[in-house]
Chain length 307, copies 2
Amino acid sequence: MSKQIYDRVALIGLGLIASSMFWAIKRAGLVGEVTGYARSSETRDTARRIGLCDRVCDSAAEAAEGSDLVVLCVPVGAMESVMKEIAPVLKPGATISDVGSVKRHVIETVQPHIPEGVHFVPAHPLAGTEHSGPEAGFAELYDNRWCLLVPVENSDPKAVAALRGLWEGMGANVEEMEADHHDLVLAVTSHAPHLIAYTMVGVADDLRRVTDSEVIKYSAAGFRDFTRIAASDPTMWRDVFLTNKDATLEILGRFTEELFALQRAIRTGDGDHLFDYFTHTRAIRRGIIEAGQDTDAPNFGRERAKP
Amino acid sequence: MSKQIYDRVALIGLGLIASSMFWAIKRAGLVGEVTGYARSSETRDTARRIGLCDRVCDSAAEAAEGSDLVVLCVPVGAMESVMKEIAPVLKPGATISDVGSVKRHVIETVQPHIPEGVHFVPAHPLAGTEHSGPEAGFAELYDNRWCLLVPVENSDPKAVAALRGLWEGMGANVEEMEADHHDLVLAVTSHAPHLIAYTMVGVADDLRRVTDSEVIKYSAAGFRDFTRIAASDPTMWRDVFLTNKDATLEILGRFTEELFALQRAIRTGDGDHLFDYFTHTRAIRRGIIEAGQDTDAPNFGRERAKP
């Protein structure tokens, strides 16, 4: 019982992230009771069948009532309406958090509905798989992954510390970051790469001269990973792009600018430009290895290489 | 001795691909003697030091003379001059092959110099790592990977069969493909994705507001794999793009067209367009799993997830 951080936690939305949270919480005994709610009755039925949550409720308000922590695990575009619904029943001193992939938009839409005496500590676990839904979760998802906490002005230090303890107890490494900086970093590391992967898969599918099976069969280096990324949850990603619009468009603008420069070098046969560019990016990679952020084991493309 | 396919094989160029071929050939006892040559005396010294090749020669002609198979393992842009140099010393009935990532250009530049009575069977093993050089090779590189043979008009069936036997003996799965089709398939599955990865890494490096360490630290899903791809050999990739210009530019043109459509959907807030697109690419991925070309194990981004 010494590990218990909250008496009661409510998970609103029961997809991959929430279900993994539940199993990770149970693994470490971090919470007395975990309640859960999903909008779809089918998802609630599945949750009850597989034992996901100690108690599955039939409304968000019922799940949130009396909870010490309520975590919004719904797509970013749905958070405001959930927050409005649960606001009247929240216990004084409770904490509201979320797991959204963008933070400025969540703060702008959710914070105005936080009642007096309730804490708000946005968060974003950098973890996921290409699967979604209540059956996709597993206790190890957050092990050694980052969870970024994005405290708002006047976030209560004790509320922040408790949430940090919960995420660390679920296996994650926790850091704090400012909301706009978070959204820019994620645009570079995740949002733009995802849109690029989606795009490349769409292009390959369009090319009728190259059959799908050939594209997959001969795609060990590069393309197969793109298809994996491009299988992620469509609703979640739609909301990410709509709500982190400015940073994503800025990165994509720079990306296409650079890509055009390289395309022109190819078209004009400017081998020196290409060579210098590739030498520079190789140096960046070397820097990453030297910084200890990855290994230089020669496993590029090999884990999934079996035909 | 029953496994031996050639009495003597020459490897011209001693980088990752050739050195892996040598170790794979030795593992299976496929060749009596393997000779080798590299343009750089430093590379030849390294090869002699680590026992790479049974005999390291000081000229390409010396290595090729008397060989039953000569494999051009130099960048695509260097193949023609090597071929001119070795043409006079080739044994009648010998076979010339290569390992270039593009095939039409190799055929156009190398084939005119093939002497009467010598066979020409271009090939392309779809394998590699982000490392290069004589010390990067290892015997398992080709295990369960594809090697595409691209026979030219009038390629001798016996010469093709022997080369197939060599690659299968090195662990690869072999298929035959027509040159232009090869170049288009590879543009989709490898060349365009590589240029895109190079570009994205360049963009991230440009963004001074996002420190390098942050980009790497928080990049488990997507970006870190991009940096791995972008560490590949600059000379090789320069030549790939310059010599598979048309197919690469065609794919990149389609890519930017699609990317612009998605950027516009983000800018105008057209969530339905994004949702439909992402749902479609997810279906493509599902098709891949159903076709047995990959597993649906939830390991997306997890192998390299340790911070």
